[in-house]
Assembly symmetry: D2
Homo-oligomer: 348 residues x 4
């Protein structure tokens, strides 16, 4: 470890995104993890909560109050929605922060209040926060103190859609996003709906018309198009631990073909290390990005004239959460974006 | 067993739909299974091929040639596509036949040739066959000698769509069917793509724009609407043994609401024992129809104005194959349709 | 339904064994389900809690207090351990009861207190209760008012072991039971350890040396042998919904071979409808008894001289719980034991 | 990449162990992968066969004949058993070789012929090969030209057993190894027994008394004890992609306790980076070593006096195959053993 290591604290280390942050950051060549918090498990070793860290000699879990912030440079905040805004509002201002909750993603306070059921409790920070879809907001992230890390569904949907909307190749008013997610997206909370027997050997839609990632998707699409956009976004739960597939059905602008969409995406992402466009006719699979920060996108013509399909896969815990958080961290510190993020997918 | 038992042969008993037929028919009060064929496994006991039949004292597997047709009244044909048409063409004409292959589903010989790569080899039978989506073609099935049992995807898509098209409540030119299937739909053939490690812990679209159930869906929709309809039909493979969910995105005709769709479906299926409309706000789950002939349908408004969503779940091996085959058999013999089909879903 | 239907109440209908009881009893030709209790969900429809019962027109869930016992003949009690004994102690004595909890399985009050951490609160009933491993205690069950339905692990272990111990063919002091269970055995309580992500894609032993089914196994083995027996019983959690496999490693008595064990089991279970011995060389699979009351047992010689192996599979929710409960009920009412229990396994 | 990179070829890159080798070696700081062979897929890009390598700019697949051996320093051979011995016999002798097949694991030619059904076809090489259970045969591996990489089951069983046998703490004649493996151990060959539907939602023993890893385990145990040892080794197939758990039941030598076993293992593996002993009372889980070269071992007393239990988990594709192969490679080249092997488990 270089003496100029960036000293990092992970708030909420006992959840799945916290553990995934730790997995990545422990192998990040410029990072030293100096604090791990988990209020209810404070005092325990992290290897008790997550035995995959057995034998690594890590700091014990502490409460947020116990952290000595003078020895910390940057914070990854993996706390639940709602409490996050108050915690972050109370942190010293010398800290750079990547927040993985939804608290700072919606910019419009009215929109936030509508979807989350209460006024935002840190409106100044909400204004300050930069939305961290790295490939799109890189320059803003570079100078941000607080980055609002995107949701998993929005990431998987926006990466294929934004360049096509920017190029005016698809109709923004006719977009269907049928999204499929592994169960880890629901976190480690003990809920009946996340039990093995409730999820295994079956599938179903959930949060139909009411999932909070809907307005997050629409916010960014609207910004790109320049007017309010509403999309169909329908999440489904899959019997798998991780992985996310967004199957997106779009209407082409007159004279545009699926090949044109493909060309736009190929060009837009030519220099992006984490986004790959699959070969003609190849539908991407979630398992081929498992454990990585990659997004694979496939483009197909529809048999219905004037329409096309996009398939976008990510690992919901990586590009959909902790991986993109580290990518943003790298941008904030001027490091190569792939630093610590060169994992190859674990398949099978 | 009544002395007036209907004597049944299952052709292709060593595949998954064959085994599922056997599971159902062995508990059917009016059926006696008198022959099980499996050319490559002829001579073996069925309990060697499918140990779930251990201890039931069933007839050994034989070749089709070995069957004494004089002792058979009805045939369930669960053979691969392509060879089926020749086998059935060679059967005695006193037999009633439910065919689970795709060979007799498409009525237009040109359409068949286009999608299956060869001229139909039993065009007379193709003309004679009745398409067995029971709830829609009951009267035709009742008098048919040869029923073409529908595909799993078409069944799950047509049941929610046909009443709405018939009622002119949705736009037939703007239908997206995002379908999700368990692996048993691919059969028991040893293919790399069906291996546990290739399917487990992940999901992906397949047969995009090229799956043969597309034209089957369109044929029936077109017939209902009265002109050629093209839909987006996109199948996805799920890491689960059985179950099928079709998430269908539709555009409402002017003045029509999602509630109107729901009312139409409730009325249309009020007397149908196998079709249930879920309560407002309840998305159906494949696991709740596992092992049964049921179809559960949910209706939701879209946040996009003028659009709605339908979710339809079946067990791909039951209502999507063997269950509906028995349902058709019941109709052909004038039996109550639920005879032998009163299973309750195995959950968890 | 015959007018002489036996009127049944299921206490604890919102758990997995409760639902499984309902699945079986709704198709039982002599039973009418007249009451379903679930204290915390009282007032809801059972189809809200378990959508597989949609469309069946069942009674709503009520509290135990709300049940009119004068209209009930028999009770299946699927309540948590500990509270069960008090509930049952308070029931009218005209009721026949099959209890699926562990409360009445251990006969020795001291043993009960040791493993469950408190004195038994209904010691009279504990004395009265008959242990319902049907194949072994049929005559006692036939005249019992209260049957203690065996645990899943004990059922899967005792069925292969008891005849061999009775025949003095194996050493009772050298028995290793390595048991593997699906997750439904842990019930529907929302616990971190039962979450999809904590169970999926992995396996582990649990309750090592401390699982309460250990003394239950030993109690019956000891009774058979005539002196206290201690065995190694080690449960493992499998990433699957249901199914249980006990791999049992035994030492042969001098002069005894694995073939002798097989002969003993074949003879002992020749007339038992639910127990099947697999063919030589065939290891039974849990999936082939899924959803049924069957137990398949395989016998193999060990490469280590003088030792042998037994593999026993059941469905933990059926022969391991609700199926055997109905089997006992049938015995209590003098009905054929297979009444309502003729399911064929759902495979795949 | 340093100019002194070791140039590596992977033979058999289209199988699961080949892909896993590639995943690890591409991030190994001293390795350059210069050739990937796959006879039947020669000419294709590796990303066609394994899309997880999309965008990495890797060499195309070639036949073994096409490899220019003058540019290769070391070979990882991941070919099927049987053909391997002839392929390796034909390779230039300047190559260092780690062979992942079973061809060179058994030292006794008679034993090999007995279990593999033919005389060894490269007996000289068989004699030369060093068995690569790294923690035990490190010095031999360091100077070997050909390393026979151990099987997955033997690795998981030998690591806990060998120190205890060496310390004379357990009875070598009373060992039961109940082993549980994910499906990837069966490789990528399209076999009915590896299909999703044949493996999902169930478990079973296989290869009972006949699995070829039995003699491999016994060979090393016998060598340690100094006389022929026979053990019970019984593999089971789990519905999961990867992971292996060996539950081992042992008899203690007089005066020895489970705590003594634990002390021996703690001391023996104190300086081994890949072997961890879990805390008292903690049963290791396969998911916590997923994707890593780690082995976690738990030790428990048995309730049966004088007996104890060992639970050992590895990732069958890593410490059970490709990870240990790279570990051996590191030893052969005098590199730190953890080079390229510092992965942290992917959980969930």
């Amino acid at each position: 470890m270089a003496t100029d290591a960036i000293r990092v604290a992970i708030l909420g280390a006992s959840g799945y995104t916290g553990a995934e942050l730790l997995r990545v950051l422990l192998r990040h060549p410029r990072v030293r993890v100096v604090a791990l918090t988990a209020d209810r498990k404070a005092g325990e070793g992290i290897e008790t909560v997550f035995p995959q860290f057995l034998g690594l000699g890590l700091p014990r879990l502490v409460t947020i109050q116990e952290v000595d912030w003078s020895g910390v440079d940057a914070v990854f905040c993996a706390l639940p929605h709602g409490t996050t805004q108050e915690v972050i509002a109370g942190l010293p201002t010398h800290l750079k922060i990547v927040d993985l909750s939804a608290d700072f993603r919606l910019r419009d306070p009215a929109e936030y209040a509508k979807w989350y059921g209460h006024e935002h409790r840190a409106p100044k920070l909400q204004e300050e926060a930069v939305y961290g879809l790295t490939e799109m907001y890189r320059s803003g992230v570079a100078t941000a103190r607080l980055v609002a890390n995107p949701g998993c569904y929005p990431t998987s949907a926006q990466l294929p859609l934004l360049p096509l909307l920017a190029a005016d190749q698809i109709d923004p008013d006719d977009i269907v996003i049928d999204a499929k997610s592994g169960v880890s997206g629901a976190g480690r909370a003990a809920k009946e709906g996340s039990l093995y027997c409730e999820v295994g050997e079956g599938t179903h839609a959930y949060g139909v018309g009411s999932h909070r990632h809907g307005p997050e998707i629409e916010q960014i699409l609207s910004e790109t198009v320049g007017r309010p956009i509403v999309v169909n976004f329908t999440p489904h739960l899959m019997p798998m631990n991780r992985g996310m597939l967004s199957s997106i059905y779009v209407k082409l602008k007159p004279g545009v073909s699926a090949d044109d969409l493909r060309a736009t995406l190929l060009q837009r992402y030519a220099d992006e290390p984490f986004v790959q466009i699959t070969s003609q006719g190849v539908a991407p699979q979630t398992r081929h990005v498992r454990g990585t920060n990659a997004c694979h996108i496939g483009v197909f013509p529809d048999r219905v004239k004037g329409r096309a399909m996009l398939f976008s896969v990510i690992d919901n815990l990586m590009k959909g959460a902790s991986g993109q958080a580290v990518q943003n961290f790298n941008v904030m510190y001027g490091l190569p974006e792939t630093t610590g993020l060169d994992q190859i997918a674990l398949f099978p």
